[in-house]
């Protein structure tokens, strides 16, 4: 049985591994104050974003990380960034609730000479960030769609369902768009779509209703492994197993389940929850005016886009160590 109640050992492993690839850049430098703000940690992935950012900061004796209260109110998030600016931090790592809405204040920070590292949700003006660390939401949808296409090869009448996250977020729109586009390329489409809210409970509720709506399903893509726990519970409650499911985000739970086999969950698409940790690392380099060790460039690049690979039973061992516990 898998349980997150035994995280200590695995986690130590994970951070231990991170600590192993020490490079020259990790030598202590000038003291750096980094401000960090992210949306409310109301689901596992977002919680892990903050946790891994903190963990990354703890690795460095020269980083002083200031974490603001997670919030889904752009007004409040703006004021947090303003506080950081007043504070004169050396860099700001910002995962905006809404990229466009946070653009003006990011711009203000840049104008004040504070580099902003934009994580996950993009600003609508490239000049508002020094570096952008992007997960690939569209790409995630494409990966999931492509995988489902490959599994359902030749069944043009297959029923595909989608359980999205919070529907009013731009990232959900992007994922769904990517999914739809990928399915289209193999002649499939989304037959049933529901949205949950990234929580276990929401996943269970949405999936319960979805399973009633579609008496026969061939494949499900669930945007988020955290709500996936609930989705799996609902599937179990309904005694259904005629389909396979692809997850999203890549939680350790999901990966362990994939590794074990025997569940409808066959694969998951990674959406790295270490983005913010990367953001912290980049912020430190920027503030200390260092470059990325493995590149020839003397400056940190403008944009880093992370890859959204599909994890299946075959390659799960490779990803499990860096997966987030939700």
């Amino acid at each position: 049985a898998c349980t997150s109640n035994t995280p200590s050992t695995e986690n130590e492993d994970a951070s231990g591994q991170q600590a192993q690839n020490v490079v020259a850049n990790d030598e202590p430098g000038d003291e750096v104050v980094i401000g960090f703000s992210a949306p409310a940690a109301d689901h596992g992935w977002m919680g892990s974003i903050t946790t891994s950012a903190k963990k990354a900061a703890e690795q460095y004796s020269d980083v002083d990380l200031r974490v603001a209260e997670g919030t889904n109110d752009v007004n409040l998030q703006i004021s947090q960034v303003e506080t950081f600016i007043n504070d004169g931090v050396d860099a700001i790592v910002l995962l905006p609730f809404d990229g466009a809405a946070m653009t003006p204040v990011a711009m203000k920070a840049m104008e004040a000479g504070i580099p902003v590292i934009n994580v996950d949700r993009e600003f609508d003006d490239p000049n508002a960030a020094r570096v952008t660390v992007l997960g690939d939401n569209y790409g995630m949808g494409v990966s999931a769609g492509t995988y489902i296409c490959s599994q359902l090869e030749g069944q043009s009448d297959a029923v595909v369902a989608e359980i999205a996250g919070i529907d009013s977020l731009p990232l959900t729109q992007d994922r769904s768009q990517g999914f739809e586009d990928a399915l289209k390329s193999c002649g499939l489409d989304v037959d049933n779509r529901v949205a949950a809210d990234f929580t276990v409970e929401g996943g269970e509720r949405a999936a319960s209703n979805l399973l009633q709506a579609a008496p026969k399903i061939d494949a499900i893509w669930n945007h988020d492994d955290d709500q996936g726990v609930g989705v799996l519970a609902a599937i179990q409650n309904a005694n259904r197993d005629e389909f396979f499911m692809v997850g999203g985000a890549g939680s350790a739970n999901a990966m362990r389940s994939i590794k074990e086999g025997g569940s409808v969950l066959q694969a998951t698409v990674i959406y790295p929850s270490t983005q913010a940790a990367d953001g912290i690392k980049l912020a430190r380099l920027l503030a200390q005016e260092k470059a990325l060790g493995d590149l020839v460039e003397v400056e940190v690049p403008r944009e880093v886009q992370l890859y959204a690979p599909v994890v299946t039973k075959e390659n799960v061992d490779q990803f499990l160590p860096t997966a987030f516990e939700s």
């Binding site: 997150s4 529907d167 929580t199 276990v200 409970e201 509720r205 709506a213 726990v229 519970a233 739970n253």
Partner: protein, 360 residues
Amino acid sequence: MSSPGVTESQDAEQPARAAGPEQPHESTRRTGGGDLSTRALSLLQTGVGRNAGLVVALLLLCVVGAFTAGDRFASTDNALTILRLAATIGVVSIGMTFVITGGGIDLSVGAILALSSVWCTTLATQVIAEDTHWIVMAGVALLVGIGCGLVNGVLISYGRVVPFIATLAMLASARGLAEIISLRRTQIVTVPGFRDFFTARLLGVEVQVWLFALVAVIGWVVLNRTTFGRRTIAVGGNPEAARLAGINVRRHTVLLYVLVGVCCAIAALMLVARTTTGSSTHGTLYELDAIAAVVIGGTLLSGGRGTIVGTVFGVLIFTTLTNVFTLNNRSISEQSLLKGAIIVVAVLLQQRLANRKSSE
């Protein structure tokens, strides 16, 4: 009341308000009287009469569901799905009915639920439970619910903090504590027996649904047939009169918040069983959902009058609504746009029909 004109014209210029009297219920009890022999019948009639609007709204929803989704809606499985989803929020709403009838309000139900679910699924609890019996987890959840309710009740009764603020504070604190305890992780249940118990079927229906039914029936009996219920209505309707009649208003208020805490704990156990997890995100926005179900059901937000049957209908209307929408593959935005309209129509319907009834 002999003429329909009287009630109507009486409040001719009176808008609905939180603290004002509400029309539909003015005469509910009166019709409930009568001879001992015909009591059961009149009881049934009262139940339907008073809730005529809700019954009609629910029926309408079902008709729409059956028309648009056919057998997918009108199947036993689907009915059970609706009931399963209704069970958790339903139990919380029953508790909320008591608090609101008693003149209070509880915004912390969702947070208490989350804290209960987290605390009863910690590693420590589960280890003990595995060595002994899953009932330990239930005990922990209940203790957490009782504890939170006690804090709410004491703050409100003895600290004289208004319920809205006291429970808002509890909402923030309990969720914060749940996050600290769980480290914001989803805690998976491994104790055998726990999940089996709640999802086992009895006569083809899951235990959690039976549990909801049981809580509703007990709630009805307690509110309508016991001293505790009478006093709840008195405390909510006229606390000064209740005090002068010798009721310990403070203690009773504490008990009400403990009661809702217990309901949250029961709901937490049901949710843990259904999702196989405890999590600090469980029960988000339950406070609004529960209050909405209670108020739509016809309980006065200002206290002094409550109806368990109405609350059950309120919960069923909301869950059926979501179900019908999903079966029809509507987008969330359309759902919420329509939801607003449907709520208003349900309430207006309920008012008109109840007025009609009471004037007969």
